[in-house]
């Protein structure tokens, strides 16, 4: 059974850079451009979600509290 690996923040950022570089080159046709833009939007949303996850304000927990939370 094979699973599609979910992107990491770094791989998503690298892919976005590659997409923008490809689009900036002006060599992509209409279909490829639209597909790249769609893929780029998806990745931007993913990265935004990752940044949002660490943008809610620093939360401090003791290890015991985390363990209790995980066990409950």
């Amino acid at each position: 059974m094979s699973e599609v690996a979910s992107p990491t923040y770094e791989s998503a950022c690298a892919r976005i850079e590659a997409i923008i570089a490809r689009l900036d080159s002006g060599e992509a046709g209409l279909r490829e451009t639209l597909e790249l833009c769609q893929e780029g939007r998806t990745l931007v949303e993913f990265c935004a979600g990752e940044l949002e996850a660490v943008g809610q304000g620093l939360e401090e927990l003791r290890l015991g509290e985390l363990v209790t939370r995980l066990e409950s």
């Binding site: 990491t8 923040y9 770094e10 950022c13 976005i16 850079e17 997409i19 923008i20 689009l23 900036d24 992509a28 209409l30 451009t33 639209l34 833009c37 780029g40 939007r41 931007v44 990265c47 935004a48 990752e50 940044l51 996850a53 660490v54 943008g55 809610q56 304000g57 620093l58 939360e59 401090e60 927990l61 003791r62 290890l63 985390l66 363990v67 995980l70």
Partner: protein, 431 residues
């Protein structure tokens, strides 16, 4: 002042001299070198390594001695460095650099042999363990782990009341990071420290949420930091599947946990920044810019092609309009050309007409004369006489008969009148 110019001494002094200071310094050096060569022990302070020599002070509660050692002798010992507080035994003797007019004099205990003692023994133990860990390849596993660029949960092992805790938080905030920090507080200095830190690391790693662990402690003596050279702790760190970032002591300290950790940082603040490689504030701005660029590219791709299509769709109409304009132009040129030609032809005809007019004048005179003659001839036309009621007597074959005698010769005559002819027979009896 000349070397030979000796000034007078202090009046009333019973001391000998005055002597030239260089002479006295040289004698002092000789006397100091005559001191018995001995072994001394104490704590190292202010170790500095130069190209030619290393320097440090050897201290204890009663006094201190500036020491120096030739760099070659030092390197032969195989010791990395001497931390402040390290206890050593140094063998050597007094020496004195007499200085000169341009250089300062300097006293030092010239060390020719050195042995680590007390903490120095600890250092030796540490060095042996370091070599063992390296030989077993335990310094590499952590460095091969993939550290997340943007961890959501970070575990931190540190002393509960230490300044390192605040430094870690400051580093995380400097990154603009607002995730979850899980504190695993542990003693970081006494004999209980190493087992407690080991347990804390194992507990943190057991929580699946922890993506990276920071171990932070401020500076201290080698004995204070020795817990971070514990073999069990170092082996545990080496085998953890969660990346560990160490920040123990000051930048000059080098504990074993630094060797086996994924990353070793000089301060807890730097350790926090290493735990979150991405500057979240900058990353958010960059992501907004990238999203805007993507949208621009998307819009541009469609708009440009739409413009191209519109241009192409307009092309036939433009072609026809261009031809129509050319035809109109040609038509205008043709009309202008025709008008010019007609005008020129008219002028030419006028010229020819005038020429003909000039040439035709004798003919007209002749025609007028001919008309006159015609009129004259017409005046004598018998038909005109007939029109007035006269008749013309004609013989056979239209021969005019102009006398009675001639008429008598013909058996039959013809009377031609205005409206026709009648045949008649002459009456011979009429006289």
């Amino acid at each position: 002042m000349s070397e030979t110019a000796r000034p007078d001494g202090i009046p009333g002094s019973s001391l000998s001299g005055p002597f030239p200071v260089g002479h006295y310094a040289a004698r002092l050096r000789t006397r100091l070198r005559e001191f018995a060569r001995v072994q001394v022990f104490g704590e190292v302070f202010g170790f500095k390594a130069g190209r030619a020599r290393v320097w440090f002070e050897l201290r204890d509660g009663a006094g201190a001695l500036p020491c120096s050692m030739w760099r070659g002798d030092w390197d032969a010992l195989g010791i990395h460095a001497l931390a402040d507080g390290a206890q050593i035994v140094a063998a050597g003797g007094c020496d004195y650099y007499a200085g000169s007019r341009t250089s300062s004099p300097q006293f030092s205990f010239a060390v020719t042999g050195l042995r680590l003692a007390g903490e120095g023994d600890l250092l030796a133990q540490v060095e042996r363990l370091r070599r063992t860990l390296h030989a077993e390849g335990l310094t590499e596993p952590q460095k091969r782990l993939i550290r997340p660029a943007l961890p959501r949960t970070i575990g931190v092992v540190t002393g509960e009341g230490g300044k390192a805790r605040d430094d870690v938080l400051a580093g995380l905030r400097r990154r603009g990071w607002g995730g979850r920090v899980v504190w695993a507080f542990a003693p970081v200095q006494d004999r209980h420290a190493a087992p407690a830190i080991t347990r804390a690391l194992q507990d943190l790693a057991a929580c699946g949420e922890i993506e990276v662990i920071v171990i932070a402690r401020g500076g201290g003596s080698l004995a204070d930091l020795f817990a971070f050279c514990d073999e069990t702790l170092c082996r545990t760190v080496a085998m953890l599947r969660v990346p560990v970032i160490s920040s123990v002591g000051h930048h000059s300290d080098h504990t074993l946990i630094d060797d086996v950790a994924a990353v070793a940082c000089s301060t807890p603040t730097h350790a926090a920044e290493a735990a979150v490689p991405v500057d979240c504030t900058a990353a958010r701005a960059a992501l907004r810019a990238q999203a805007a660029r993507l949208e621009r590219q998307s819009t541009r791709a469609i708009v440009e092609r739409a413009r191209t299509l519109a241009r192409l769709s307009r092309a036939p109409a433009h072609h026809i309009a261009r031809h129509r304009a050319r035809l109109h132009q040609q038509l205008r040129e043709l009309r202008a050309s025709s008008a010019r030609a007609v005008s020129e032809g008219r002028r030419a005809n006028l010229r020819r007409g005038a020429a003909l007019e000039r040439n035709a004048r004798p003919d007209r005179d002749r025609a007028r004369r001919l008309d006159t003659l015609s009129l004259a001839i017409a005046a004598h036309d018998p038909q005109r006489t007939l029109e007035r009621g006269y008749a013309l007597v004609e013989g056979p074959e239209g021969v005019p008969v102009t006398s009675a005698a001639a008429a008598a010769t013909w058996p039959e005559l013809s009377l031609r009148m205005r409206d026709g002819s009648v045949r008649v027979r002459p009456d011979r009896d009429v006289p």
